[in-house]
Amino acid sequence: MKALVFSRKPMKFAAAMVAGRLAPGAGAKVGPLALRDVDPPELPGPGWVRVRPRLSGICGSDLATIDGTSSRWFEPIVSFPFTPGHEVVGELDDGRRVIIVPVLSCVARGISPVCGSCADGRINHCERIGFGQLEPGLQCGFCESTGGGWSTLMLAHEHQLVTVPDDLSDEAAVLVEPTACAVHAAAQVDSGSVAVIGAGTLGLLTIAALRSAHPSMEILATAKHPHQRALAGELGADLVVNPGELERSVRVRTGSMRLDSGQLTGGVASVVDCVGSADSIAQALRIAAPGATIHAVGMPGVTTVDLTPLWQREIALRGTYAYARADFDTAIELVRTLDLGRLVSATYPLRRYEDAIAHAASAGTRGAVKIAFDLRPEKERDSI
């Protein structure tokens, strides 16, 4: 079978880090990601099924991995070599189309009794991550045992499967997983004014989820590019501004005062950071009102940020990772209602993975949103 494989190769990893700094996505050309012919993964145990990916998206966390910018925090909870791809719509041997809930919980790991978090349905909080019958892996797409969506075959546990409604296209279905992240994030946000930083896929979906969850909430958003501005407004933002204009917009909308340094004395009640960079976190701290909460939705890495405002203004910084199983039902409804499948801007075959990664890494400047691999025409797919 064909699969894009990410191996533990320190020299190539270092080369990817350098290349990724020079041009986002360039890590795909020189790094440890390669297209290979590999043996199909073996089923780890009962309850596991084979899934033939149809579409598999490229996520920001995938790009960070490829360009070598992701945190070493992940080292004990991923296993090499792995096949990336956790935004997956695929089909089972019986032809049923499924979306994969990629988080690997106690059930998938064969751990019994399950941990308290998994028992509560909070699979994203699994307290046995890295243990059990699987090689370490926080999700499919980072685990050697399961494979990932950037291949012609991967594995998933029955508990990870969500049947795709007939009326949902593959393009729409592949947006369900990131939309579930957004739904989960939106549920954490209290009512009141909110600012969403970033209008990539996750930012746009978060705006949509916030608007759906909080119809009367005032949503400010930043967007760098014209198509992002248009989509952000269309999906529910009340005001969309350039990133550099956010502080001033928040000041006006909240009636805050402004100190000579430019610091606001007030701000918004919630900030949703869908970027996860030092700059975006620092900006979030500048616009958050005293007592506000900053939701880190975009995956941050190792960052240097002045946390004095966090302390002085009693701001809470809260991570928002993945979702619970139930978020997928809400996500499917949101994808259907808002026709979010249109956010898939381009698809690529596996053999053009360098182009695909480059496109995804520069999606904003190229007028795109979500880039995905299209596995449907792959020859090996039907012969496995």
């Binding site: 005001l239 501004v241 001033r248 000041r251 006006v252 805050s256």
Partner: protein, 531 residues
């Protein structure tokens, strides 16, 4: 004898015509056979004895008014209000005419034993004047005598304890002005009537008022019904101010109005700037060399240096008249004197109106001409420099020349930045802007704070700038800015063009290929009397 303004029909022998272009200059070859250029008249002769003429005016008031000296009595409260930094443009060389008039008034007050005197810069919602600017306007002697005691200061339209509500007009317009002025036995208002919009009841009813009062005439409807606001009798802006004047009179507010007019000697008759005041075909070889050298030098300098050069220019205006007495009688004579200098008859409208916008407008003295002010200067002031009917026909095209940088002075124009980034990003429709955003900006505590304690225009001021162009926005079919920063121009809702030829080509899509063109050769200021 100065030559009057006139209309030049452009033919093949016509040399390239001067266009001001912010802190730069351009020469443009205009199409022959279909282009007219409206030139201002030469500067009228200045009064030889300005101080004598001031004394004469104070002693021989117009209308139903007694001479000033007989209105001054010991123990009375006297307030002298004067026009702010927005007049004249560019600022005039010392001594400023306000200084001369105020000194004459103070001499009379001293002689009459009046010792309760306040001097107030009537700036409405404009930024506060700095000490240097106040000194320039009133002179060091007056400043040193009054400012240290707190008797010379800027009007504060947000100081609720020092505003007096005087009633409403028959149209329901609220009249609220500076309390010290309202409580005075006499207000002496010292005007510089640079254009015909200035003066009359607008001086006190606007210059000393508050947002509560101003909003009744500084709004889209009023501006769209002022055709133009440079023609008092066709201006709803002025009608509203005149109604407010009735309320002031009924409330017992006594105003002794002093209005002064200047000639249009903006750039002088000697030195490198003087070439900007000459008609192009009369340029000597030396003038041409001067112009080429000046333009090349300017274009090589960084913008801050260019701005510094232009902002340091003080015009050598001559004073052409001084009128004093009852507000309306004074204003009639003053307006006639303004028209004598500026009004030039021209027959018929044009398809395309071109204008070169200079570096300065009323709201960026010692500051930056930001994109909103570019719009206001072009579509507000220049477009409205007409009597009768607009110089450009309905559905026609306005072509303005200005670099229109995305640049703001954060001290002077903080709310402008937000207006540009947020309001104009959403809509450029004046009515929608007014309905959705004005109140929020007008009542914003931070803008209020900066207006009162720093040197910021009031939070609502950029809205007024946009409203100033509302009549033009409604009237014209397209606005093109030549040489403007494209993203700024587009944010304004206009079309950027690299050259005048490109702009004319774009305009032909709206008004056809043989469209007529009229160029407003301004500054020096010229006003079209369109029949």
């Amino acid at each position: 004898m100065p030559r009057p303004g006139f209309v030049l029909e452009v033919d093949r022998s016509t040399p390239p015509i001067l266009f001001h272009h912010g802190e730069s200059l351009r020469l443009e070859k205009l199409p022959a056979g279909r282009t007219r250029v409206l030139y201002p008249g030469e500067p009228l002769d200045a009064l030889e004895d300005v101080d004598g003429e001031i004394r004469r005016a104070l002693d021989n008031p117009l209308g139903d008014s007694q001479p000033l000296r007989s209105l001054l009595t010991p123990g009375m409260k006297l307030t002298i209000a004067f026009d702010d930094i927005s007049l004249p443009l560019p600022p005039m060389r010392r001594p400023d005419i306000r200084q001369r008039v105020i000194e004459a008034v103070l001499d009379l007050a001293a002689a009459a034993g009046v010792d309760d005197v306040h001097l107030i810069a009537a700036l409405a919602l404009h930024r506060r004047m700095t000490e240097a600017e106040l000194r320039h306007a009133v002179g060091d002697r007056v400043y040193d005598a009054f400012a240290p005691q707190g008797l010379l200061y800027n009007h504060d339209a947000e100081d609720l304890d020092n505003l007096a509500f005087l009633g409403t007009t028959r149209h329901g317009e609220e009249v609220e002005i500076n309390k010290r002025a309202a409580d005075s036995d006499l207000i002496v208002y010292v005007n510089i009537n640079l254009v015909s919009m200035d003066g009359g009841w607008k001086s006190t009813a606007t210059g000393l008022s508050s947002y509560r009062s101003l909003r009744h005439h500084h709004n889209v409807k009023t501006m769209q019904q002022s055709r133009s606001f440079m023609d008092r009798h066709a201006s709803e802006l002025h009608s509203s101010n005149w109604r407010m004047g009735e309320v002031l009179k009924d409330a017992g507010v006594k105003v002794f109005q002093i209005e002064t007019t200047l000639n249009n000697d903006t750039f002088g008759t000697s030195g490198p700037m003087s070439v900007l005041q000459k008609r192009e075909w009369e340029w000597t070889a030396r003038d041409r060399a001067t112009f080429i050298g000046m333009k090349a030098g300017l274009d090589r300098l960084p913008i801050k240096a260019r701005r510094k050069i232009f902002n340091s220019w003080l015009a050598p205006y001559g004073v052409t008249s001084v009128q004093a007495g009852e507000v309306e009688a004074v204003h009639e004579v003053t307006t006639a004197n303004v028209f004598k200098q500026q009004l030039v008859p021209i027959e018929g409208q044009t398809d395309i109106l071109t204008m070169g916008l200079p570096y300065i407008c009323p709201y960026n003295v010692n500051s930056v001409m930001n994109p909103i002010l570019v719009m206001c200067l072009g579509l507000g002031y220049f477009f409205n420099m007409y009597r009768g009917q607009p110089l450009v026909r309905e559905g026609g095209v306005v072509i303005m020349s200005h670099p229109t940088p995305w640049e703001f002075n954060p001290v002077h124009h903080p709310s402008y930045i937000d207006f540009f980034e947020q309001v104009l990003a959403d809509t450029t429709d004046p009515l929608e802007i007014e309905a959705r955003y004005e109140k929020q900006y007008a009542e914003d505590e931070w803008y209020r704070h900066l207006y009162r304690t720093s040197y910021a225009y009031h939070g609502v001021h950029p809205f007024y700038m946009w409203y100033w162009g509302a009549h033009a926005l409604e009237h014209v079919g397209k606005v093109i800015i030549v040489g403007g920063e494209p993203r700024s121009v587009r944010r304004l809702g206009f079309t950027p063009a690299s050259t005048l030829n490109d702009a004319l080509e774009m305009a032909s899509d709206v008004v056809g290929r043989d469209a007529t063109i009229t160029h407003l050769h301004n500054p020096p200021i010229v006003m079209a009397d369109v029949t």
